[in-house]
């Protein structure tokens, strides 16, 4: 009962302080609001970016190894010209991998380029075309919303068929089904047989929403598939139970034998995996997180001094009341808790305002930048925790000094 009585009284005093000295209280709370806003905004942005990145990396496949000319992460002391002289992954190597690699569940050769696609008077420029071998469906994570994927015969014979992204389908074929329709890819005709399920923007780029997928054997008639600018690569998915490291070890041996490399000669190919991207981004997020935490942490500390200041003023203003309360039998802890609750309550108001601002910004920013940004449960807990703790820490000294006042001197205080 004493607790609730104290709580009620402190809330009353806090509200009273807010109402009577609006500007003073507002300026004091501003420190906490800015601090909570800064630290929670940074954590929210970092968390959301991480989530989006993981989603994008997952769509690439975390059990997939990419055989490419260039590595995704460079060793600092490796001379770049050695990479320049490397051969490009070749379509003919794909058969060797499928037949000889025991750890591979599936493998696909692919190239990509930017092209223009047309349907009647509708034309879209700079569309990414993915030209892939048949098993692409098994190594890349995607879903087809309408229609179907290529058949084995369509892939091997290079039939002019295409699977297009959701955004392209809506742009080229407004108010009609794209299935069975003909599009022109760099002037050559292709029949739309499927539409990718809408996935939204990807942080790594390469969202299937704006891509066209065609069999690589069909692409031979459109583009030079041996062109280095088309970024040729072979994607290899590991069998269930086979780790990426095991697959990489096997692929290294296989690729070395296919490239006829002598034992002491360095590899002239790169085996990349999505964990390389995650690692690169993890260090970036860590730096951003630490920077935000330092800035936010110290602004909260300054906000705490603001709360301490307002509480000292509050104690000074209410010295007579404290004296009367103590002379009527109020214990020291009663006075202490009374001011401590008030401090926590004020700090909590500042924190809640800060959290509300972050929430409003995430709603607005999420819509405008097309990326999902959300204020997570852990960040809300963190915001409340910081507010309460800063209230306790900054309010304790004024509250304790109030509790130690001599009742006679306190009543006499003017």
């Amino acid at each position: 009962m004493i607790f609730f009585g104290l709580f009620k009284e402190s809330v009353f005093f806090a509200i009273n302080a807010l109402v009577v000295n609006k500007l003073r209280t507002f300026l004091s709370l501003l420190g906490i609001t800015i601090g909570i806003f800064a630290i929670i905004t940074v954590f929210t942005v970092v968390d959301s970016l991480e989530q989006n990145l993981r989603k994008s990396v997952q769509s690439l496949g975390d059990d997939v190894v990419f055989i490419e000319k260039w590595p995704w992460a460079f060793d600092g002391d490796y001379p770049w010209w050695k990479y320049m002289n490397r051969p490009l992954p070749d379509y003919n190597e794909l058969d060797g991998i499928i037949q000889q690699c025991n750890g591979a569940q599936s493998a696909a050769f692919l190239i990509s380029s930017q092209i223009t696609i047309k349907h009647q008077s509708n034309s879209i420029e700079n569309v990414t075309i993915i030209c892939a071998s048949h098993q692409y469906e098994k190594v890349k994570n995607f879903e087809i919303a309408d229609g179907r994927y290529f058949t084995e015969i369509e892939s091997s014979s290079g039939r002019p068929v295409a699977v297009i992204g959701d955004v392209l389908a809506k742009a080229l074929f407004p108010n009609q089904s794209p299935l069975g329709q003909t599009i022109k890819i760099n002037g050559a005709k292709a029949t739309v047989i499927g539409v990718f399920k809408k996935e939204g923007e990807s942080i790594l780029g390469g969202s299937p929403d704006t891509q066209v997928l065609v069999p690589v054997n069909y692409a031979r008639s459109l583009i030079d598939i041996h062109n280095e600018n088309l970024d040729p690569q072979i994607m290899v998915r590991a069998r269930p139970g086979i780790s990426n490291d095991e697959l990489i070890a096997e692929l290294t041996g296989l690729m070395r034998s296919m490239h006829k490399l002598k034992p002491l000669v360095e590899d002239n190919f790169s085996l990349n995996q999505t964990s390389l991207i995650s690692k690169e981004f993890d260090s970036l997020f860590e730096i951003v997180g630490i920077a935000g935490w330092i800035i936010g942490g110290f602004s909260i500390l300054v906000g705490g001094f603001g709360i301490a200041n307002i509480m000292f003023v509050s104690v000074k203003e209410r010295t007579n009341i404290i004296g009367i309360q103590k002379s009527l039998g109020a214990k020291n802890y009663f006075i202490l808790l009374q001011f401590l609750f008030e401090s926590v309550f004020l700090s909590l108001i500042g924190g809640i305002i800060g959290l509300l601002i972050v929430f409003a910004i995430t709603q607005l920013a999420g819509d405008s930048i097309g990326m999902e940004i959300s204020l997570s449960k852990s960040n809300i807990i963190l915001g409340f925790t910081i507010s309460i703790l800063i209230g306790v820490v900054s309010g304790f000294v004024p509250a304790y000094s109030a509790s130690q006042l001599d009742p006679v001197e306190a009543i006499r205080a003017s």
Binding site: I39, F43, V46, E286, G289, I290, W293, I294, G296, G297, F298, I300, L301, K331, N332, Y333, L336, K377, S378, I381, L382, T385, I386, L389, V392, V393, F396, V397, Y400, S403, Q404
Partner: protein, 114 residues
């Protein structure tokens, strides 16, 4: 009961000043990304320990016995958590032990009241 104002020994002043400096720097550290990674409630838990340590230093500064008690409790709770998450800081333990020894040395000269 009327509390008596007791003269604070210089060693206690030194310990408290060091403690307050430690609090100023460790309070923002409570909400660091590395602590946040441990779990949703770890910042709250570490924050509570820092807040309790701060209050205990104020108690010791005012030569109150409850300050020493609070400091010892916060020290043991903190160390148990650090052992559980396998992040033991031996320098911190040595310093805290030194502080406890100093506080206990002057314990009899401290006030029992709030």
């Amino acid at each position: 009961m009327e509390s008596i104002i007791r003269k604070r020994p210089k060693l206690i002043t030194f310990v408290c000043v060091l403690g307050f400096i430690w609090i100023v720097f460790s309070f923002p550290a409570v909400f660091s990304p590395s602590v946040k990674k441990l779990g949703d409630w770890y910042p709250a838990l570490f924050g509570l320990i820092v807040a309790v340590s701060f209050i205990s230093y104020i108690g010791v500064w005012h030569m109150k016995r409850w300050g020493v008690g609070l400091f010892v409790i916060s020290f043991f709770v903190k160390e148990i958590i650090l052992i559980l998450i396998n992040d033991i800081n031996y320098i911190g333990i040595v310093f805290s032990f030194l502080f406890i020894i100093i506080m206990v040395f002057f314990y009899k000269r401290m006030d029992v009241n709030l």
